[in-house]
C-alpha cells in the first residue's frame, strides 16, 4: 500500500535519513523502532509531507506519492498523530475534531450536526467528555485521545502514530489498542512508533528497525522478543573516531545529588561525580535526564533536592546560585537557551561572568579571541553576531562562555547534537581535556557511541529512574540499551 525506497533526508550537518526502505500493507499494524535519532520522527515527517526528502521514492496506493505539504498527505488519506499535540486550547472538543471541515448549512456552522458527529466519534474512542468542553480543560491524556480521534475522523487509509501512549495510563492505552485493532479490521494500515517495546510486541504485526537513518530489517512479529529488537537497534555502528582518553586519577567527589525529585518523573535520583571524572547519562528522550540536570542547576524547581558540593550541602534555587557555586549547564537547545543570537561572539562569551559596573571591552575582546583560538572557533572576528555562525561554531561559543565562567562542574546536555564530524571531534577533545584538568563532567547524550567513547561510567535513565550504572570496562551498547528500555517493558501502571 505504501512503499518507501531509498529515502534520504539531510539537514545541515547531519544525515537524518540515509536510505530507508519500508513497505506497509493494508490492514496491518507496522511498528517502527530505533534508538533516539535513528530517524523515526524524520521518516514520519517525510510521510506526512512536512519534510521533502532529498532522494528516494514513495508510492502510495500504486501511484507515486510526493506530498508538498501536510494538506497533501491528508488529502491522500494519510493521518498523523504527532508526538507534540496540535490542538487549539480555546475551542471545544467538537470544533477541534472537525476543524478541517466543519459541517455547515448555508455557510453557517451546523452546531447540532457538529455536536452529534463529535459525540459519535468520542463514544467510538471511549472518551467520556462532552463535545462542548473546551480543550484547555482536558487532561493531557484526554487531549491525546482527542488528537487520535481527530486523526481517525477523516477516512484515512494510513494512520501514523508517533509515541501515542507516552501520556496514557495502561487502561487508556488498552482502549487505544482496541481501537487500533478495529481500524486494522477495516483495512486501515497503521504505522506505530513507540519506546514501549512491550506494546510493540503485543500490538504489531510486523516491525521495522531503524538505526542511524537506515532501515536495518523488517520482520514478522511472531517469535520476535524484546532482546532481539534491542540487538537489531544497536547493531554494529560505523567506527566513529574518538580522541584518546587520558588516564586520570579521579579526585574527590565534586557533586553529590541525593533523592532528587523532579515534577512529572518517578525518581528519586541519586548520583555523584568526582573531579576528573566524565559521567554519562544515557537513556531515551523523555527519560528524565535533561529535567534532572536542569533541577540540579536550579533552572527548574525541584520537588526535593539534597545537593552536596565537595562534601558541603548547598542550596540551589536559581541558575545564579549554580553559577556562583561553579556549576555550568550547557543546555540541549543552544539557540533558545544558550545563546543571545543577536549579540556578538564576545558578548556571548562573557555573559556568564558579567559583573561589576562597566563592560571592559578591551578585556572582553582579548578574552573572546583567546578562547576562540583555543576552541578553533571559525568566525570573521569576535564582533560577528552569533546568529550567523554554523551550529558547531555556535556550540563552541556556548562552551567558551562556560570555560570563561571557570566552573569546576560542567553539565553538558547533548553537546554535539546537529554538529558536523570535525567539530564533534574537537568538542570531545575539549571535554576530555577539561576532565584531565580536574573538572567534573556530566554528559547527557542520546548518542550512545559518544558516551561510550568519552565517559568513565554511564548512568542509564529509564522512565524517570536510574535503571543502572555501567563502568567503562563493561561498556556494551546492547546492555546499556536494554537498561534504557527496561522501564518501558513493564506495563505502564506507574504513570
Amino acid at each position: 500500500m505504501m512503499t518507501v525506497s531509498g529515502l534520504v533526508k539531510r539537514f545541515p550537518g547531519v544525515v537524518a535519513l540515509d536510505g530507508v526502505d519500508l513497505d506497509i500493507r493494508a490492514g496491518e499494524i507496522h511498528a517502527l523502532v530505533g534508538e533516539n535519532g535513528a530517524g523515526k520522527s524524520t521518516l514520519v515527517k517525510a510521510l506526512a509531507g512536512i519534510h521533502a526528502p532529498d532522494a528516494g521514492t514513495m508510492t502510495f496506493d500504486g501511484a507515486p506519492y510526493t506530498p508538498g505539504s501536510a494538506a497533501d498527505a491528508l488529502a491522500a488519506g494519510i493521518s498523523v498523530v504527532h508526538q507534540e499535540l496540535a490542538l487549539l486550547p480555546y475551542l471545544t472538543v467538537a470544533e477541534n475534531l472537525f476543524l478541517r471541515a466543519l459541517p455547515r448549512t448555508a455557510g453557517v456552522v451546523d452546531r447540532k450536526r457538529l455536536r452529534a458527529d463529535a459525540a459519535r466519534l468520542l463514544t467510538e474512542i471511549g472518551l467520556e467528555v462532552s463535545p462542548d468542553t473546551l480543550v484547555e480543560r482536558l487532561g493531557i491524556a484526554q487531549m491525546q485521545l482527542v488528537e487520535i480521534a481527530k486523526a481517525i475522523s477523516t477516512d484515512c487509509k494510513l494512520l501514523i502514530m508517533d509515541e501515542p501512549t507516552a501520556t496514557l495510563t495502561s487502561r487508556e492505552s488498552g482502549r487505544l489498542f482496541g481501537i487500533l485493532r478495529a481500524l486494522r479490521e477495516r483495512g486501515v494500515a497503521i504505522v506505530y512508533i513507540s519506546h514501549h517495546l512491550q506494546e510493540v510486541l503485543e500490538l504489531a504485526d510486523r516491525v521495522t528497525v531503524l538505526r542511524n537513518g537506515r532501515s536495518i530489517e523488517t520482520r514478522e512479529m511472531a517469535g520476535v522478543t524484546a532482546p532481539d529488537l534491542v540487538k537489531l537497534m544497536v547493531g554494529r555502528d560505523l567506527a566513529q573516531e574518538f580522541p584518546a582518553k587520558p588516564s586520570t586519577e579521579l579526585g574527590e567527589v565534586a557533586l553529590k545529588v541525593r533523592e532528587l525529585k523532579v515534577a512529572g518523573f518517578e525518581g528519586p535520583l541519586s548520583f555523584s561525580v568526582r573531579r576528573g571524572e566524565v559521567v554519562g547519562l544515557a537513556g531515551l528522550v523523555g527519560s528524565g535526564r535533561t529535567e534532572a540536570m536542569r533541577a540540579v542547576f536550579g533552572a527548574d524547581p525541584s520537588l526535593s533536592e539534597n545537593i552536596e558540593l565537595y562534601g558541603k550541602k548547598v542550596h540551589i534555587r536559581h541558575p545564579q546560585d549554580a553559577v556562583r557555586h561553579g556549576i555550568s549547564l550547557l543546555t540541549e537547545d543552544r539557540k533558545s537557551q544558550g545563546l543571545v543570537l543577536d549579540l556578538p561572539i564576545s558578548a556571548n562569551v562573557t555573559l556568564a561572568k558579567l559583573r561589576g559596573f562597566l563592560v571592559r571591552f578591551g578585556q572582553e575582546r582579548s578574552l573572546a579571541e583567546g578562547l576562540g583560538r583555543r576552541l578553533h572557533l571559525r568566525s570573521a572576528g569576535v564582533d560577528q553576531h552569533v546568529r550567523t555562525l554554523s551550529g558547531g561554531n555556535q556550540q563552541k561559543v556556548v562552551l567558551a562562555k562556560w570555560l570563561n565562567a571557570g566552573s569546576d562542574i560542567l553539565i553538558v546536555d547533548e553537546p554535539t547534537r546537529g554538529i558536523d564530524v570535525g567539530a564533534k571531534y574537537e568538542i570531545h577533545e575539549l571535554l576530555l581535556g577539561l576532565a584531565a584538568e580536574g573538572k567534573a563532567l556530566l554528559v547527557v547524550s542520546s548518542d550512545l557511541p559518544e558516551l561510550m567513547g568519552i565517559c568513565d561510567r554511564v548512568l542509564v535513565f529509564s522512565r524517570g529512574k536510574i535503571a543502572g550504572e555501567v563502568a567503562r570496562a563493561d561498556f556494551d551498547a546492547e546492555h546499556i540499551l536494554t537498561l534504557a528500555y527496561s522501564g518501558y517493558l513493564k506495563n505502564g501502571e506507574t504513570q
Partner: protein, 332 residues
C-alpha cells in the same frame, strides 16, 4: 561600512536632515534661532520620556502609563511646592516627583514579572490608576503658585540652549552611556534578545526588567518637574497621550517592540524627527487634523523602512561568513 550604514542610526539621521532641509525651504521662519529654541523646548518632554521608554522596550516591555504617571508626579510634588519659596521645598518637590515616578515604575515592573502578566495590560491598568489618583489627589483642580525659581529655570537658556533641553540632553547622554558601556546595559539588550539564555547564564532577569521599568518611572518624575517649570502649573489632566509619542520616538529610532534591538541615539533622533515634523508643519500652516495624518504616515513609513532595513542587514550578515572562513582567530 555598508553594514554600519544600514544597521546604524544613519538612516534616521539622513531622514531628519532631509526633513529639516525641506522645511528650511518651505516653512517660513523655520530656520531661525528662535524657532530652533522652540523646537528644543517642544521636544524636551518627549525626549525625556522616550529615554526611559527605550529601556522598557529593549527588555521587550511597553509602558502605557507614562502620561498619567507624569500627571500624578506633577500634582503630588506640585501640591507640596505650591505657595512656598523655600529652596528646601523645591528640592523636596523634585525628589518626591522622582520618587513617585520610580514607585509607579517599580509597581509596573514588579506586577508584570511576579505574576507574569504582559506589561501592556499592567501599564494600561496603571494608566487609569495614576490618572484617577492624580484627579482624586487635587479633586480635579489645577495647581498654580508654583515656586518662581522653578519657572525661572523653565525660561532659562544656557549657551543659547533652553535649560530644560539641557536636562533632556543630559538624560539621553546618561542613557546612552548606561546602555552601551555598562554591564547593566549589556544585560538589558541580552535579556530583550533571549531572556532564557541570560537567566541560564546566572542572571536574575526579573530584576533587570523591573529595573528597566523603574528607570522609565524616574524619567517620568523628571519630565513632570520639567513640565511644571515650563508651564508653571500642575494639572491632573496633563500628559494625555504622551506615552504614545514616547513609544513612537523609540520605534522611529529603530527599536523592536519584541525587545533586544534599539538604541539611545536612535531614540533621540526619533524624538527630534517628530518634533521637527510637528513644528515645520505648524509653520507651514497645515491644519491640526492634517498634521496628525501626516505624523501617522511618517511613523508608518519609518517602521516599514526599518523592517526592510533589517531584512537587508540580515542578508548582509549571512553573506558575510563566506569570507569569514579564513580563520580570523588564528594566532596573529
Amino acid at each position: 561600512m555598508i553594514k554600519r550604514l544600514v544597521l546604524g542610526e544613519a538612516g534616521i539621521g539622513v531622514a531628519l536632515v532631509v526633513l529639516a532641509g525641506f522645511f528650511v525651504i518651505l516653512a517660513p521662519n523655520f530656520a531661525t534661532e528662535q524657532n530652533l529654541r522652540n523646537i528644543m523646548t517642544q521636544i524636551t518632554l518627549n525626549t525625556v520620556l522616550a529615554v526611559g521608554m527605550t529601556f522598557v522596550i529593549l527588555v521587550g516591555g511597553i509602558d502605557l502609563s507614562v502620561g498619567s504617571a507624569m500627571a500624578l508626579c506633577a500634582v503630588v510634588s506640585g501640591t507640596m511646592m505650591a505657595g512656598s519659596g523655600s529652596a528646601m521645598t523645591l528640592v523636596g518637590g523634585i525628589l518626591v516627583s522622582v520618587l513617585v515616578g520610580g514607585v509607579v515604575g517599580w509597581v509596573n515592573g514588579f506586577v508584570s514579572e511576579q505574576w507574569r502578566v504582559p506589561s501592556f495590560i499592567v501599564t494600561l491598568a496603571m494608566l487609569n490608576i495614576a490618572r484617577g489618583g492624580a484627579e482624586r489627589y487635587t479633586d480635579a483642580a489645577t495647581i498654580y503658585n508654583l515656586p518662581a525659581a522653578l519657572n525661572d529655570f523653565g525660561t532659562l537658556t544656557l549657551i543659547g540652549i533652553p535649560a530644560v533641553f539641557w536636562v533632556a540632553l543630559l538624560l539621553a547622554g546618561a542613557g546612552w552611556f548606561v546602555l552601551s558601556r555598562t554591564v547593566f546595559g549589556r544585560l538589558i539588550y541580552a535579556t530583550g534578545n533571549n531572556e532564557e539564555a541570560v537567566r541560564l547564564s546566572g542572571h536574575k532577569t526579573s530584576r533587570i526588567k523591573i529595573a528597566a521599568f523603574m528607570i522609565a518611572g524616574l524619567t517620568v518624575g523628571i519630565a513632570a518637574i520639567l513640565y511644571m517649570a515650563r508651564l508653571n502649573i500642575a494639572s491632573p489632566i496633563l500628559g494625555q497621550g504622551y506615552e504614545l509619542n514616547a513609544i513612537a520616538a523609540v520605534v522611529i529610532g529603530g527599536a523592536s517592540l519584541m525587545g533586544g534591538r534599539g538604541s539611545m541615539v536612535g531614540t533621540f533622533l526619533g524624538a527630534c524627527l517628530l518634533g521637527v515634523l510637528t513644528n515645520g508643519l505648524l509653520l507651514m500652516g497645515v491644519s491640526d487634523f492634517e498634521r496628525q495624518i501626516i505624523t501617522g504616515l511618517v511613523i508608518l513609513v519609518a517602521v516599514v523602512l526599518d523592517a526592510y532595513r533589517l531584512r537587508l542587514a540580515r542578508k548582509l550578515a549571512v553573506a558575510q561568513p563566506a569570507q569569514a572562513l579564513t580563520p580570523a582567530m588564528t594566532p596573529s
